[in-house]
Symmetry: C2
Subunit: 399 residues, 2 copies
């Protein structure tokens, strides 16, 4: 679990929304979940239009139409310089997302790879927080929020237990810097921590239901922050009335193709909780995965998943096939080209296709300093930008 604090140093939501307030990066990260790992501004990334398109399809609950044209000049991945990352939250739903400005570049050097690698390694440990899935009682109109004991003791300011009953007013800020006041009281038989006055306003204001999660943390000034995470709900059908989904998919491809043709910047939104996979990958992460991992059928691997209450755990799996996810549109793409099976058949909703940078092979444990930093392949003159290098599909030039 990584903090975006360095990845999005200028984490101010002055993007399209024109918001004024800055988003707290630790709170954003906590809401986004432990698997989300934003690349750092100023580093190189690999952008997968196919994954981007997939996210939009997931957001709209609508598959890509066969009508959407191919962009034959748009490769399945673009090496880009990530100029800018800003953190946002939907003002209506509090859904977190990031806006990234990418500029296609035709090659990278050793220094770019080192910087990307350094950025990955220099991520701060995540800020501590507690996250509770709301119960029916928490969201009912009768009474407040039952605070897990350890959470209250760890995260809330200590109560004055000489009072009878011990109680205090809490002030917490959400992602939009809105202030929420709660009465925190320690009472009942047996004793427990509760949030009473102010809680129901919060629940109705955020339209929370049992199954959604609320999370509290303290920032460096010891101020309380709170965020929400909605239970992944059934087809909300976001079907936009602004643009047809075809036009959206065309827009993604055309914007990327235009940027690639002109080496001009373009903007994407990454929506961690809508999409099955990240589609903007730090260069070092991509490079290591492609270079280090000798993929073969039957290979065993581990992969991280998010648990309830914002934890992580690894599941074991086996590679059962290597093939194009979309052999028509995206031939020879590395986007989720590995077919996999999972050891535990429980909860069979794990994905049956993954990308190589998502997994940790268990057969190759000693790649602490893999040999890829020695690779110096000069850019071949006359080679068109984005043509595939022999192994990587990306052109590295010596510094």
């Amino acid at each position: 679990m990584k903090s975006p604090a360095n990845g999005a140093a200028a984490a101010v939501t002055n993007g399209e929304g024109g918001e004024k307030k800055s988003i707290n990066p630790e709170l954003w990260q906590a809401c986004a979940g432990p698997l989300v790992n934003l690349p750092a501004a100023g580093t190189h990334v690999v952008y997968f239009p196919q994954g981007h398109s997939e996210q939009v399809a997931a957001s709209l609950k609508k598959d890509v139409n066969a009508q959407v044209p191919n962009y034959p000049n748009l490769p399945s991945k673009l090496l880009c310089l990530l100029h800018n990352v800003t953190l946002h939250a939907d003002p209506e739903t509090d859904e977190v997302y990031a806006q990234m400005t990418l500029q296609p570049v035709s090659s990278f050097d050793k220094d770019a790879l080192l910087r990307s690698d350094l950025a990955l390694k220099s991520n701060k440990p995540p800020t501590e927080f507690f996250c509770k899935i709301l119960t029916a009682s928490d969201t009912s109109t009768h009474g407040g929020f039952s605070v897990p004991r350890r959470a209250a003791e760890k995260t809330f300011p200590p109560l004055d237990f000489s009072m009878q009953p011990p109680a205090q007013e809490l002030v917490a800020r959400d992602l939009h810097d809105n202030v929420w006041n709660f009465r925190h009281i320690y009472r009942g038989q047996p004793k427990r921590h509760l949030l009473t006055t102010g809680w129901s306003l919060f629940v109705s204001g955020k339209r929370l239901f049992a199954g959604d999660s609320v999370l509290f943390m303290r920032d460096e000034k010891q101020q309380l922050l709170l965020g929400i995470r909605r239970a992944s709900r059934q087809p909300t059908n976001l079907s936009s009335s602004v643009l047809s989904s075809d036009s959206m998919h065309i827009g993604i491809l055309a914007a990327a193709a235009h940027a690639a043709a002109n080496n001009s910047p373009f903007t994407v939104f990454y929506n961690p909780r809508a999409s099955p996979s990240e589609f903007v990958i730090p260069l070092a992460k991509y490079y290591k995965a492609v270079y280090s991992n000798q993929i073969s059928l039957g290979m065993r691997f581990r992969m991280m998943f998010e648990t309830e209450e914002s934890g992580t755990r690894r599941y074991m799996g086996t590679i059962t096939g290597i093939s194009d996810l979309d052999p028509v549109r995206w031939k020879n793409s590395q986007w989720r080209n590995l077919q996999v099976g999972w050891d535990e058949s429980t909860a069979g909703e794990r994905r049956n296709r993954v990308s190589i940078w998502e997994i940790e092979p268990v057969t190759a444990p000693f790649f602490i300093c893999p040999p890829f930093f020695r690779s110096k392949r000069p850019r071949q003159p006359g080679m068109p930008a984005y043509s595939r290098g022999p192994c990587l599909g990306l052109v590295m030039i010596s510094a």
Copy 2:
């Protein structure tokens, strides 16, 4: 004021949203407003990507970025066959919109023009309805809705005045076919029509506020229908977290350009209450305007506007200039290329640019059967599709 009943005969919302219910076309029209006039499916239209882009900009409250590339092969207007029109309403906000499937065609014949003209003339008179702007009392938590006397007598089933007080249960359906129940009672001193029980559920369910409008009508089976129209509210900032506005604008242009290049169908959404102007114009309306109206500086004209409470009135104006709205992107476009001044300076929020088909010149009153049906200009061989004809910019071939 025209009804979309013939324009959208198959007015079923089975579009992207995947809704099942059919939208009542009369109710949709009443919600859309008296100026909205959908072209009929199966007829020819002129599509203006510039106007489409403008609507998206208005929806997003975001101007087109200079980064958006030009599509040099995309003309400022496309002659299209309108395959399909379906009516929709946003499930969250009840905002009405229409989905149209357009297919670029390279020319039209006399018959197409006649069919378009016939469809314009064969529109049914609009269904009667009443529309009231909600007062503070109507939307307060204390008490119900005060029904204007004439409206209640015209639209609601008659009360049994032998009851004391006279009262009945009303059942009304909204655009989504949801049922709303109201107690309709005639009481108070002096006597008046009121909706009591059920009203506040409707107000909170639709999130209505003073200034929004509610409208009631009866369908051909005498069933009550009700719709809403929201007051044009301040910057709602719909800034999507799915696609950057640049990508959206590129998507519009790329989709239209792709369709034009392949003569393949594409889909647009028309959002009558978001956009300042219609961007899909019935061929006959366009043709008549361009042929009949000799535009000159200083020319006087009238133009229809919508009043409060869903009426119409004409304002007089003068043409003060003829110039490109966007001389860089859309050179020689007819989209809002007329600069105008208005006789009444009151409420100066009238637009200072209009398109020729929006106005009625007052200097040429006798164009009942204009001479354009005699024009038979054979399509010139070797002329690329969409090239501008000498006068019209559209190629007509003899039947």
